[in-house]
């Protein structure tokens, strides 16, 4: 072997070594040892979505977010629309338990209707995530606002405007949803806890409007007739509150009567703030809840403990908003999520 031959060999060997070393380095860089198992835990799993209705903004945002993310990780997503019918929902849940998806994402219409079925689902090894309202049984995750705390928060906001230190009539009206629904019931419970400690506040009307804006409008109109010096009104949901706000506006009291409501932050909420229908809102950000639900699903599928082993209450962050907080893009467009679900 000549000198050149040796040099060539050395060069080749060095080159090979360099390439090999690079390859080894590359493998070190790219191989995230935790990603594989995580993807595997998600891949091919099925999610069934069963809210009380797919027709309203909150359910569209939750489902839209969960569907988008689940498809990203190769999971199947199916949804059912019981259209506010509790019986149809219970039937749907029964059918789902027989079908055995890996995850059921649901929303309780009330405390009891689905409690037994959710217990069965957990026993069958199905991860159950409850949205917005908790049934009488705890499952892998509950995702939703702490409605009692939200009621207290609304009441405390009202105290600032109409409480003891203010030069007002201290008269407050509450517009409830349906009496048996937890979303309404717990909020009112929280409000009353605060108001009972403040005897100066006079609750002049506390009526249920059945989640119907027309009824809310009629009730509030009458309440304002009876108490023209009304200081504030609290409505438990912005979709119904649009009627309450219309009554305040049509009585010529917009700006005089402080009107607080709450909702998931759809575009209609920003519009209502902008045109003065709502004085202030507590926004619990429905797409954020969708993200929380998706997080709960990832945790439950990856922790390997099986359905129902770890139970978590995931309370949604809320944000108080007034007209000043509204900018382009502050609120979200339900139609965008409705399209994803369709």
């Amino acid at each position: 072997m000549g000198k050149t031959g040796f040099m060539k060999l050395t060069a080749t060997a060095l080159a090979a070594l360099a390439i090999g070393a690079t390859a080894v380095n590359a493998a070190d860089d790219l191989n995230d040892p935790y990603r594989g198992p995580a993807l595997e835990a998600l891949q091919g799993k099925s999610i069934a979505y069963l809210p009380i209705s797919i027709g309203f903004d909150l359910a569209q945002a939750w489902g839209g977010v969960v569907k988008t993310e689940s498809e990203r990780y190769g999971m199947t997503f199916t949804s059912q629309d019981p259209n506010w019918n509790t019986d149809a929902m219970a039937q749907g849940m029964t059918a789902l338990i027989a079908e055995r998806p890996d995850v059921i994402v649901t929303q309780n219409p009330d405390m009891q209707s689905l409690a037994r079925l959710m217990k069965q689902a957990t026993k069958a090894g199905i991860v159950v995530v409850q949205l917005n309202m908790q049934g009488a049984v705890q499952t892998d995750a509950f995702v939703g606002p702490d409605f009692i705390a939200m009621g207290e928060q609304a009441a405390n906001m009202m105290l600032e405007k109409c409480g003891a230190g203010t030069d007002t009539s201290h008269k407050v009206a509450i517009v409830q949803g349906v009496l048996t629904g937890g979303v309404s019931y717990y909020q009112v419970q929280g409000m009353m806890k605060v108001f009972n400690e403040h005897p100066e506040i006079e609750i002049v009307s506390s009526q249920a409007a059945d989640w119907d804006a027309s009824k809310a409008r009629a009730i509030t109109e009458t309440a304002l007739q009876q108490h023209p010096d009304m200081c504030g009104v609290i409505d438990v949901w912005d979709g119904q509150g649009i009627g309450t706000g219309a009554a305040i506006k049509q009585a010529g009291k917009q700006g005089e009567v402080f009107f607080i409501t709450s909702g998931g932050g759809a575009q209609s909420m920003c519009n209502g703030l902008e045109d003065g229908t709502y004085s202030a809102v507590i926004n619990y950000n429905a797409p954020g809840m969708g993200r929380d639900a998706w997080t709960a699903i990832m945790v439950a599928l990856q922790n390997g403990q099986g359905a129902g082993a770890i139970k978590t209450q995931i309370y949604s962050p809320t944000r108080v908003m007034t007209k000043d907080d509204v900018q382009a893009g502050t609120c979200w467009d339900p139609e965008q999520y409705a399209k994803i679900l369709r």
Binding site: S53, G55, F56, D57, Q60, N83, W84, N85, Q176, V178, L179, V204, S205, S206, Q207, A208, A209, D210, W211, D212, A213, S214, A216, R217, A218, I219, E221, T222, A223, Q225, Q226, G239, I242, G243, A246, Q250, A266, S268, N271, D275, T277, P334, E335, A338, K339
Partner: protein, 328 residues
Amino acid sequence: MDLSKVFRLLNQERIVFLLTLLLFAAFSLTLNNFLSAGNLLSLVRSVAVLGILGLGMLIVVLGRGIDLSLVATMAISVAWAMQLVSQGMPVYAAMTSGLLFALGISLVTGILVAYAEIPPLFATLAMATFIYGFGRAHMITGTDVVYMPKNMGWIVELGQGHFLGLPMPILVAAGMALAVFLFLKYTKLGAFIYAIGDNLSASRIGGIPVRPMLALQYVVSGGIAFVAGIITATSVEAMNTRVVNSNMIYDVILVVVLGGVGLSGGRGNVRNVIVGTLLIGVLMNGMTIMDVEYTIQNVIKSLILLLAIVVDSIVNPRDEQTGQQGDI
């Protein structure tokens, strides 16, 4: 004075009217501000839409039918029209589309009843489900509450405006009541409706075009439903299609039956609907002022209805004729 003679003077309409006066007097004496002009206006206003829908129901019931699809037609046609506006269609074109949808779909209902001879109860029940389901699946693409666009123009005044100090919904309801009254009393078509409701076979032998007339009743009630929907939507700046799932349609039947319109057809007029609507209005307003719970309100409302029916059946016992015609 002979008690039976007094009884004979009392038909259901008068009973309900007396009941309304009694409640009115009781509330006036016991509730602060009940008699104030503002409260009386809001009382009438809160039942204006119910009254308008009652007029539509009246026309159908007079011809011995019933229209359970009124609320579905109202909600879907108006929600769709408002969605078209927010999607950029000119307001007039969108409103015309909504109205044509309401008229067209009720024509289908009318044809089912008049030509396919499906009993109105089933035909309209099925159509209500169809209209809502089709509307939610293919027409209203976003949420089930369609918010009113900002550029609706003068139409907003129908729900929110005032004329001579009176809220527009009351005036629209009064105008509609007058129109239906004139239609039923002074037009040939109105007389035909009574005749058909009274005796369908005899009307046919008498040369009345029975089938087209039946179809027409449903078309008219569909048009009235659209107007009621516009008032609702512009009052609260949104149309909630979920109202189809509520018991609103029963409230509409309630004001019609309560006022004394016979479900067996041929008997009743606009006055009956007004009386029935006023009773519900006085009752709901009084209970709202008293801050009565919603569920209890429903119980009281149904007890009043039962009371009116029981009193009616005592003072106007069923005879052979009503027995033969049969009620629903």
